[in-house]
Amino acid sequence: MVAVSSIRDAEPSADPRIESSGADDAQRRRTRGVVVGIAVAAALVALGGLVIGSMRDGSTASWSGTVLGEPATLPDVTLTDTDGEPFNLRDDSLGTTTILMFGYTSCPDVCPINLASLGSALEQLGPNRSSSVRVVFISVDPGRDQPEVVRSYLDQFDRDFVGLSGGPADLRAAQEGVGVERSEFGATGEDGGYEVGHASAMFVFGPDGTARIVYPFGTRQSDWTRDLPRLLDGEVPA
């Protein structure tokens, strides 16, 4: 569920978990549609696992994240930060450990949980360590996420989180450059609202602009507090 093709918000449990409790034969037939749906979701998750499996390089036993066989690099793409200033993903991140994620401020629960878990972990690490980490949130919803909207959203989690936005072309370049699947807009509801499917994993780029590890949705604060100090100490995930 971490792979490029599967880092969507909702994929980990595309349906609520349903457990059959020893229904009789006819009842089982009735729930067959549901089971088929779950099987399809499970197949998608498995497919994602295969993709990530093929990307894996050796054991990940000692890391909470998924080690990338092929490291990702920060692309030379310029977006706009919440002060309206240009921010070049590659050049402006050199020398800093960057945790990068895509998301949007109307994101139902995946983005807030990612941001809160990360924010809480950084707080636990203390200012000395957390000051050398920069969290970068790239909005996949240019239509609604104006810089000031992104700013007030991120401030709920950590005032130091960097929020970036850009037009569709720049956003696409950023996603392709990092190596995640393009975000997709869902259907617009009666009230004009819509959701956006997007990569939900968090990439940790070292000061050299290279990411060797990625953290899926579901990464707990305790996973972060265990892994981050090692990453900051320069340990290379393998």
Binding site: M1, V2, R8, D9, A10, E11, P12, S13, A14, D15, P16, R17, I18, E19, S20, S21, G22, A23, D25, A26, Q27, R28, R29, R30, T31, V34, I38, A42, V45, G49, I52, T60, A61, S62, T66, T105, P108, D109, V110, P112, I113, A116, S117, A121, Y153, Q156, E184, F185, G186, A187, G189, E195, V196, G197, F217, G218, T219, R220, Q221, D223
Partner: protein, 195 residues
Amino acid sequence: MNAPGEDRPGGTVEAGRSDPGPSDPGRTSSGDAAHAVTGRGRAWALGLIALAVVAVGAALLVGMLGGDDGAPPQVSASEARAGERVGTTVAVYVTLRNTGGADTLERASSPDAARVLVHGTDEVGIMRTSPSLEVPASTTVRLEPGGTHLMLEGVGRSLAPGDTVPVALEFDRGETLRIEAPVVPLEDLLEEPPG
């Protein structure tokens, strides 16, 4: 070690137990066929297989067309929890256990919210608003972070850990279930839910 998705909320999809017991028709009839040796015995075996095939077909048909078996739904809620408010929205998670006949959550409401929606996912994994949520007979449906959940919109009250959010769940056939979801820090939602 924490493999991706291992043991994480929203990271697992559990299909129903397949339970291939003695009712497995394929296994039974092939066993009979093995015992049939010659002549009349073979004819009997073929007859039995044909009967089994018809019976299975009929069971399938009944199962698909059957709809409600008339048993009253028995839905109970547990493990209710609400995330802290983000903007004016609050996500609520709950486990719905149905020990009776099939039912559907048709509507949810809360005095704390302008409206409550069911958020599910579409076939390509994009979160969408669902009009309702099916709770099939004899199943447990878990609403979990990253998956299907109840989204409270237009929440005016500032909610902190220690507070609870009342939500009324109106079912199609059964009664209205009233839950009190304790507010949990967002970063704690991924930890084990309360019993």
